[in-house]
């Protein structure tokens, strides 16, 4: 052992960020040593309050990773424990050590498993390597959060972000929000799935899908990892169509797997593929969006729209969302929490609309009670599809909490 230690060249790895402009993150520099135990050099904003707690955690994490001798330098900008664990693990792995070990933070309580057809009006994007946005994301009330490992993460940081997202899925309470993860394209996405799937994400977004086979590959990987890790909760899929070919294959993709709950469109990449400018009105992507809506409805999955990029333009967002709903989409993405409430408003039926459909439903129920086949409202006869749509919309409004739930027989006292 001492002889081996002598000849071993020390291995180093770094992870994370520190500096005046960084908050809730840390920089870790790890250096393997042959002897001498663990030496920690810690500089922390919160030294006086959590210095000892952090040192203890560093030792615990290194011990769990099987590291006995090392020098570790940490510059901490007030990172939370799950972030510290992920950054240390990333630095150790980058040093080429502990490849098969991981340190998982304490698990938070999860909301109920998500339903295939649950509300997905808003999904809040959280860049996977920016942990400061994670902790309060659920408080803003989005229908879903997306921990993103793809476009918002630099190629060199994919490995570190993966661990951070894994720990967040486990330790962060996202409240009632559905926990989504956007993985990278395969084969890189396979490594994402290895870390992510055992933590029971509710839904995985697959980027840049062009063929049904690509979905099948992901499904195969999820099935085998989920089985190995005994994942009991459902993991839904939302393929993202971001190219002309993807749009052409929309229906095949939407029907490629049982796990698919929705399909969506990525407009930045789509317009780039066409070689056209993305405009505020969006006429260049009108066909693609309508194609997605139609394919989704044909496949009985949800059609979800892209994001609205100008955070300051709340009016524009509202109009886009309203138009999107009118086309048949059921939700869209958010890049800032201020967009959530506006999107929820855009995808809600208007008071006028509600009044009408409630009247139709009432007329329908009355006709049913009187044994009439024909539903009429005032002097107008109401067609069956109109009744169907009204019933659906009333149910949706209940889900959104816009109208109160009807007491069921069991609840009535």
């Amino acid at each position: 052992m001492p002889a081996a230690a002598k000849i071993s060249t020390s291995r180093r790895g770094e992870a994370g960020r520190a500096g005046d402009d960084v908050r809730s993150d840390l920089y870790v520099s790890f250096e393997e040593r042959g002897s001498g135990g663990i030496e920690i050099d810690l500089r922390s904003r919160v030294e006086l309050y959590y210095g000892e707690v952090i040192r203890r955690q560093v030792r615990d994490v290194l011990c769990a990773l099987g590291i006995e001798h090392a020098f570790i330098e940490i510059v901490d900008e007030g990172a939370l424990p799950f972030m510290i664990a992920a950054r240390i693990e990333a630095a150790v792995r980058r040093a080429g050590l502990a490849q098969r070990k991981s340190v998982l933070p304490e698990a938070a309580t999860l909301a109920a498993p998500s339903q295939r057809d649950r509300l997905r009006r808003s999904r809040l994007y959280l860049p996977g390597n920016e942990p400061k946005y994670f902790i309060n994301a659920g408080l803003h009330g989005p229908d879903a959060v997306i921990l993103d490992l793809e476009d918002s993460v630099h190629y060199a940081e994919k490995d570190a972000a993966r661990l951070l997202v894994r720990n967040a899925l486990r330790a962060v309470d996202f409240g009632a929000a559905e926990r989504m993860v956007r993985i990278n394209q395969l084969p890189l996405g396979l490594a994402d799935l290895e870390e992510i799937v055992p933590q029971s994400p509710d839904l995985i977004l697959i980027p840049k899908v062009e063929t049904a086979d690509q979905v099948s590959d992901v499904v195969g990987a999820i099935d085998s990892i989920a089985k190995g890790a005994s994942v009991a909760r459902p993991i839904w899929l939302m393929p993202i169509l971001e190219s002309a070919l993807g749009i052409e294959n929309a229906f095949a993709i939407a029907t490629a797997a049982e796990r698919i709950a929705a399909i969506t469109i990525g407009l930045e990449d789509y317009t780039a593929d066409l070689g056209v400018a993305k405009t505020a009105g969006g006429s260049e992507s009108l066909y693609a969006r309508m194609r997605v809506v139609n394919a989704a409805h044909a496949a009985h999955v949800q059609a979800i729209d892209s994001v609205y990029g100008d955070v300051a333009d709340t009016e524009g967002l509202l109009h886009w969302g309203e138009a999107s709903r009118a086309m048949g989409f059921e939700g869209m993405g958010c890049i800032h929490p201020v967009q959530i409430e506006i999107i929820h408003r855009a995808f809600a039926p208007s008071p006028n609309e509600l009044e009408k459909v409630l009247a139709i439903v009432a007329a329908f129920e009355e006709a049913q009670a009187r044994g009439l086949a024909v539903v009429s409202l005032g002097s107008k006869m109401i067609d069956a599809p109109v009744v169907q749509r009204a019933v659906k919309l009333v149910a949706l409004a209940r889900k959104m909490g816009i109208i109160a739930d009807e007491p069921t027989a069991g609840e009535a006292s």
Binding site: S24, R45, L48, Y49, V53, L80, N136, V311
Partner: protein
Amino acid sequence: MSAGVATSLVTNAAGRRVPTHVNGREQAPYKGVNQHCSTGNKAAPPIRSSSDYPANGDKRVPDLETALRLCGLRDGMTISSHHHLRDGDRVALTALQTAARMGAKDLVWFPSASFPCHEPVIDLMKSGAVHHIEGSMNGPLGDYCSHGHMRGLGVLRSHGGRWQAVQDGEVHIDIAVIAAPTADFFGNADGSHGRSACGSLGFALADSVYADRVIVVTDNLLPFPCVPWQIQGNNVDYVVEVDSIGDPSMIVSGTTQITRSPDRLRISELVARFLRDCGIMRDGFSFQAGAGGIALAFVDYLAGMMKQANVKAGFVRGGSTKYLVDLLNEGLIGYILDGQTFDLDAVHSIASNPRHVATSPFTSYNFHGKGNFASMIDAAVLGATEVDVNFNANVVTHSDGRLLHGIGGWQNCLFAGCTILAVPSFRDRIPVIVDEVTTVTGPGELIDVVATERGIAINPRRQDLLDAVKGKGLPIRPIEELQTEVEKICGGKPAKPRLLDRPVAVVKWVDGTVLDTVWQVVDDNPYAPKVSGGE
């Protein structure tokens, strides 16, 4: 040693150990809210005769040195200044440096607040020219005091408390140096015009009335009369004309920006919803606003709700900014009663809109007066560095014990009908809701609501508020529950930083009693974020 006079410590009604003497003067320990009522008469400056002043009204002298000499500058004098020029002020430092050059020693500087631009006063304290500061200290001055380097004890007062101390004779100002954006040779002065315009000059009003000698320093001398005048020339001894009283870009900000931080926006929205849903937002109501990130955003949300409900506010006390001015112009609020003017739009408004009124700590805040505006306000939305589970709050020190902020009008505003602290539940992993605050600046019985991004805690003393918001869909939660949740996120209770058993400053309550002691810090964390608080 601090203080210079033997002092012992007693435990006051807030359960805090406080010195019996501060800088040689005997002190009353805090006795509870509204428990200490002074008797006797107010202090008064010496009687002067107009025959001792130029009959033509021209009180100009060539420079500040001449003015100080004519004022009889001596060792140990108390020199006051105001902070309406904020971090752009050049006058206070120049006055102290001039006095030092003239050989004065052991001066007491009595500013209404200090700013980072006043850092060179440290050199004056080291050289012995300045003995100590009685006023808010933060940044480098705060660190100097926190480490026990100041010869006397710091005395932190609210804006109202400063007026009270001056009028009650607790602080005797020998020479008041008043920086004035506009003045005439008689000494009439105002803040609403000129290239260094700062809006109101209210913080200088007590100094002008109660000081033995008053010097007005201006960079915008107008032919008599300077109208309007907030400072009356009849109280002024000398007028000095200088090239510049300060850096306009640091006096007011060109534009005021609402925060884009999602968490702060959420807190702001919750505060506005709370005011709406508990019924405080009704026709003719009033509120206090400031220029902080949350304060601005809360006004924005509230304005939207007021429009929707067709409700107008009677008056707003501020802290005026473009946002408040827009509401005034839209007719959504009746009056702005302005204590401090923060941006250019607000400065233009106070200069031109008769419904935008300059006020002073006397009208707004003074506890030893025949009432004040602060207690007439329906709701005040304030910040804090820490709040404990009994709703006691700290605004002057960081959790590590270092002086961070002045009290400003914070203590005075606690007398509003509903006092709301709008705070994040943790900052940089440091929980804001604690078992015991580092420094009690406000007693919990006056703090009604703590609004965080994780929910709103209502003081159990305010059953009326608890009842009013029932069933309104607001995230109302016990304060202990918020504390537990945040401690879980942060990885346990934070350790309490060690502090030396040596006072470096005291916090006064609005009635002049000593509410708490600021202790010397021991551990320096070289990686702690730099702090640069406001007044």
